[in-house]
């Protein structure tokens, strides 16, 4: 296994092709649960968890679809797999690790419909990643999500506390402008090209 390749995938998923700020996937929770730092962190870890698992599980499912020559069924099948997976994980955690279940709380079921999770499995297929690469891409994609949402939440907390935006910009408008500026800043990583 080429560790350089994995590192490139990781760096790409976290910074260069950050799921939220560059690929604009998973914007709903990014705006929805970023008002407070602790909820943002909870959501971030839940996303890492589910994206990694979904990547792992969807890899064999995709092999099956390819064997049956039915790649056109990928999207709907992956949605089914992710929904079932999240339900199962929720039950499993509630029984075995109640503390983690409590910590993730409502964010776990919310992720069922998160487009970043569906996005990561579809991208895995598109990029022809093997199993290990898929899982690494899924987990690091989640890490990128965590990074973005934590940065965003800290900025939003600060905006709410100390800055006084004009009345018409309060709340979501200033949050959207902030997100746009962050996306611009992350655009700067697109020149990151150290392994070639």
């Amino acid at each position: 296994m080429d560790w350089k390749n994995l590192l490139t995938i990781s760096l790409g998923a976290i910074l260069v092709n950050n799921f939220i700020l560059v690929q604009f996937l998973g914007c709903c929770p990014f705006l929805g649960v970023s008002k407070k730092m602790d909820t943002a962190v909870g959501m971030g870890f839940a996303v890492i968890f589910v994206m990694g698992l979904a990547s792992a599980l969807c890899y064999p499912v995709n092999l099956l679809l390819e064997a049956l020559d039915m790649e056109f069924m990928q999207t709907v099948t992956f949605i089914l797999v992710i929904a079932a997976l999240v339900q199962f994980v929720e039950m499993f955690l509630q029984k075995t690790i109640p503390s983690l279940y409590e910590a993730l709380g409502v964010y776990l079921p919310l992720i069922t419909t998160n487009c970043a999770v569906l996005g990561v499995v579809l991208l895995n297929v598109q990029e022809h990643y093997n199993f290990i690469e898929s899982v690494v891409y899924g987990v690091t994609g989640g890490v990128g999500f965590l990074l973005a949402i934590v940065l965003f939440a800290s900025i939003r907390e600060r905006i709410a506390l100390v800055s006084e935006p004009p009345k018409c910009f309060e709340g979501f408008p200033i949050a959207l402008i902030t997100a746009g500026l962050m996306a611009l800043a992350f655009g700067g990583f697109s020149g990151l090209d150290i392994w070639r």
Partner: protein
Amino acid sequence: MTVNPMTILYAVLTLGVLGGGFGAILAVASKIFAVEKDPRIEEIQGILPGANCGGCGFAGCSACAESIVSGAAPVNACPVCSGEQTTAIAAIMGVEVAPAERRVAFVRCNGGTRSNKKYDYIGLMDCQAAVKIAGNGPLDCAFGCLGFGSCVAACAFDAIHINAGGVAEVDRDKCTLCRRCMDVCPRHLITDVPYAADVVVRCASQDKGAVARNNCAASCIGCKLCEKNCPQDAIHVIDNVAVIDYTKCTSCGVCVEKCPRKVLLDIHEDGKVAPVAKAGA
């Protein structure tokens, strides 16, 4: 473009098998990983009124039930529940509770149309809106019921209505003391009295006698006749208005007879409320 019918069949089969498989796995998992929730939570929730009024201070009836089971709340946390329901909850929790005396909301005003008005108010028919108008609302009396029915709108139990005199009046049998009306009344006229209370003070005016008399024909002027005549020392004039101590009051009715302003009222004489059996609440 032609589609091979077999492709459609395979697609349906694949998705069907996958879906069925996941369904079966989840069904099995829900049995294996079933978390035993305390059955008492559901039982208590069945007893609670289910109005989610928030009178207990929790987010709703289910949150209240969870708190009762976890011990964070007493078994009689629900202010809406009657004695029987509280006893049933106590039985589920295996404790005994002394049946709490039932209390109901009461509007401390009988002015309404008998109160003098500064002007005719034709704005939004809402007490909160009316008191924001210059002069603190249309009534001369700053302690009078405005009669626009903010409390009526707030009541989830249809237990408070504006009566013919233009004053909000509580239906004691329907009132559950959820206190929503108390929260919305901008003049804080609504307090709680025992369900069995016979004698009530229908005024909250803290104005001095002469002022109160000029403002309203149905005002307590703080003359203290009731206080002087009460054999039980149960009624006192505090801040220019009579207040009854229901722990001492025996409903003898002396104060009702003596009150020159007919502010004190034996509710049963009014014919509105049937007498209640007092033995064992």
